[in-house]
């Protein structure tokens, strides 16, 4: 090999696969330390990759040495590197949180007997998805993500949790099936599944079958991202799972299918998608309104946060009518994905602390929480600030970029919807805070909670606010290399 530079691409996939397998071998409930060590190395690898990209441009790794279209290519451009860095950076604190949370679990080990291997496979699958440049290989990664997420939701659960997992599994499987039919049509028309090979072919000539493939794949990914009206599976699954799992799903997993939709819409299907660009935007508006209303009405705390995810995923789709490669709208979407990921991780982790302290999953039970758990409440409030889009948070930067994109193209509807969504977010966030600031009734009892849980929530919330200040660096990384 002439190239002596260390290539982190394959290791970002192999490493989590390895610790997933090994922690399964260790036995039920084991593997937390292995996972934390592995995740730390993965984070370092993602940072290294980002540095390499900034200095040397996009990277391709031809698996098997064949090169597309015969083999499968891994491709890391700026967008992939940003998502990889974000995923490892959020997963590491969540894993640390999960370790403490499960060790402190009063309900025994059943809920987390296989948490660590499932987490390893989930992260490997997400990293593989971000790096894959092959539509069939992407199908396999989608299935991996779906099965790992369902396994995490179902583990050790009661009736409603198992029902939620089953509903999630069915939606996920039908969506993967639709995606696969899209792949089948693409292969039928062009005889290849490599994105790099397909892109110029689709630009040159796209018969009706390719339009159908694009539609099937877009619908599949919207369903996996829980965009309205495909959102119905998300609240019971995210609201019913153990808290560390909810955090992982809401912060990271839904972003993977969004990323793929963005990638296909911007690259592969760019010649086809322009006339229909208003449709995801419109569904996004509906998601913001409906998700926010349900979050405002929710009685259970975890359900409130889960419905907020439905609303926040709507924002991500507001950018589709405004998209252009390397444009401001793409920056807005990525910024929203990152800041929502951090904020939602912070929100679920602080909700986990509140649940443990009050022993109830109820907004009404929060009275007195502010006095007893000030750090956690502050974390929740900071995360809420990001969701509302107040400066200097990442959410503010995302809305600002969306406004800029909308004004440039004279389409002010989409940023306005985003701003209204921020106001609605304020309603449900303040509903929680107001209840927590009430004086505790004399009968209420607060159980002790490990301090480290509170600080992890606080750290994530702080990061979601400070993300806005690091916008320049993120945008520089995002701008590295396009596909082609």
């Amino acid at each position: 090999m002439a190239d002596v530079r260390f290539d982190p691409l394959p290791w970002l996939i192999l490493l989590p696969l390895a610790w997933a397998g090994l922690s399964f071998l260790l036995g039920p409930g084991r593997g937390a330390r292995l996972a934390l060590a592995g995740l730390s190395v993965q984070l370092a690898l993602a940072l290294l990759l980002a540095a390499q990209l900034l200095s040397g441009g996009a990277q391709i790794h031809a698996v098997g040495g064949w090169g597309a279209p015969l083999g499968i290519d891994l491709l890391a451009d700026g967008l992939a590197a940003v998502m990889l860095l974000f995923t490892q950076a959020v997963a590491l604190p969540l894993a640390a949180y999960a370790r403490v949370y499960f060790a402190d679990d009063p309900h025994g080990r059943a809920t987390h007997a296989y948490f660590w291997p499932l987490l390893g496979f989930l992260l490997a699958a997400m990293n593989a998805l971000y790096l894959s440049a092959d539509v069939f290989n992407l199908y396999v990664t989608l299935e991996l993500i779906g099965l790992a997420a369902v396994g995490l939701v179902a583990a050790g659960g009661g009736g409603s949790q198992v029902a939620a997992a089953l509903r999630y599994l069915l939606v996920s499987l039908v969506a993967s099936g639709a995606y696969l039919l899209g792949v089948a049509l693409l292969y039928g028309v062009y005889g290849t599944v490599s994105i790099a090979t397909l892109t110029p072919l689709i630009s040159a000539q796209a018969p009706l079958a390719v339009g159908l493939a694009a539609a099937l794949m877009a619908v599949a990914l919207m369903a996996k991202t829980a965009l309205f009206p495909f959102h119905f599976w998300l609240p019971p699954a995210h609201g019913g799972a153990p808290v560390p799992v909810s955090a992982l799903l809401s912060a990271l997993v839904v972003k993977a299918s969004f990323y793929l939709m963005l990638r296909l819409w911007l690259g592969l299907f760019a010649p086809l998608s322009v006339p229909l660009a208003w449709l995801p935007g419109l569904l996004g508006v509906a998601a913001i309104v409906w998700g926010s209303i349900q979050a405002i009405r929710a009685r259970r705390l975890k359900m409130l946060v889960a419905w907020s995810t439905v609303a926040q995923m709507g924002y991500l789709f507001l950018i589709f009518p405004l998209l252009a490669p390397h444009g401001v709208a793409l920056q807005a979407g990525v910024m929203q994905a990152l800041s929502h990921g951090l904020a939602k991780a912070a929100m679920f982790t602080s909700v986990g602390v509140l649940l443990r302290a009050t022993q109830r999953d109820s907004v009404d039970a929060l009275a007195g929480a502010a006095a007893r758990l000030p750090i956690t409440l502050f974390a929740f409030a900071l995360a809420g600030m990001t969701l509302m889009g107040l400066p200097p948070s990442g959410g503010f930067l995302a809305k600002w970029l969306l406004l800029e994109a909308g004004l440039r193209q004279g389409q002010w509807v989409w940023p306005v919807a985003g701003i209204i969504g921020g106001l609605l977010a304020a309603v449900y966030v303040f509903r929680v805070l107001r209840q927590a600031l009430l004086l505790a009734p004399p009968s209420s009892q607060f159980h002790p909670v490990p301090r480290s849980l509170e600080w992890i929530a606080f750290g994530l919330a702080g990061a979601s606010v400070l993300l806005g200040l690091r916008g320049v660096e993120i945008m520089a990384l995002l701008a590295v290399g396009g596909r082609s």
Binding site: E143, L147, A163, L166, V174, G177, L180, L181, P235, P236
Partner: protein
């Protein structure tokens, strides 16, 4: 009209039949059966369409082998969840969606 195209067309119809079944039918075992029909449909389109001019193509064939294994893994997990749900609640259907809880 080649055998490949015939099976691809049948696969397309199977896919639509299965997808409609998963959405419309309420019994969970039927939903799982319907999902398997949907998957088989997609597999037939993958191989059939690629071989519409006769001959064989090892690439989609290998992909379908992967797909069959994924499908059986997913079916096993779905059945495990269904049996667990049935044991816990006595139900073989999903509860009606509640918009807030």
């Amino acid at each position: 009209m080649s055998p490949g195209l015939i099976y691809a067309l049948a696969g397309a119809l199977l896919f639509v039949l299965g997808a409609t079944g998963v959405i419309v039918l309420a019994n969970l075992l039927r939903k799982i059966l319907a999902f398997n029909l949907l998957g088989s449909g997609a597999f037939l389109v993958l191989v059939g369409l690629a071989q519409r001019d006769g001959g064989t193509d090892p690439l989609p064939q290998a992909m379908v082998l992967t797909g069959i294994v994924v499908a059986v893994a997913a079916t096993a997990l779905a059945l495990a969840l269904l049996r667990r749900l049935h044991r816990l609640t006595g139900q073989t259907r999903l509860p009606d969606e509640k918009e807030h809880g």
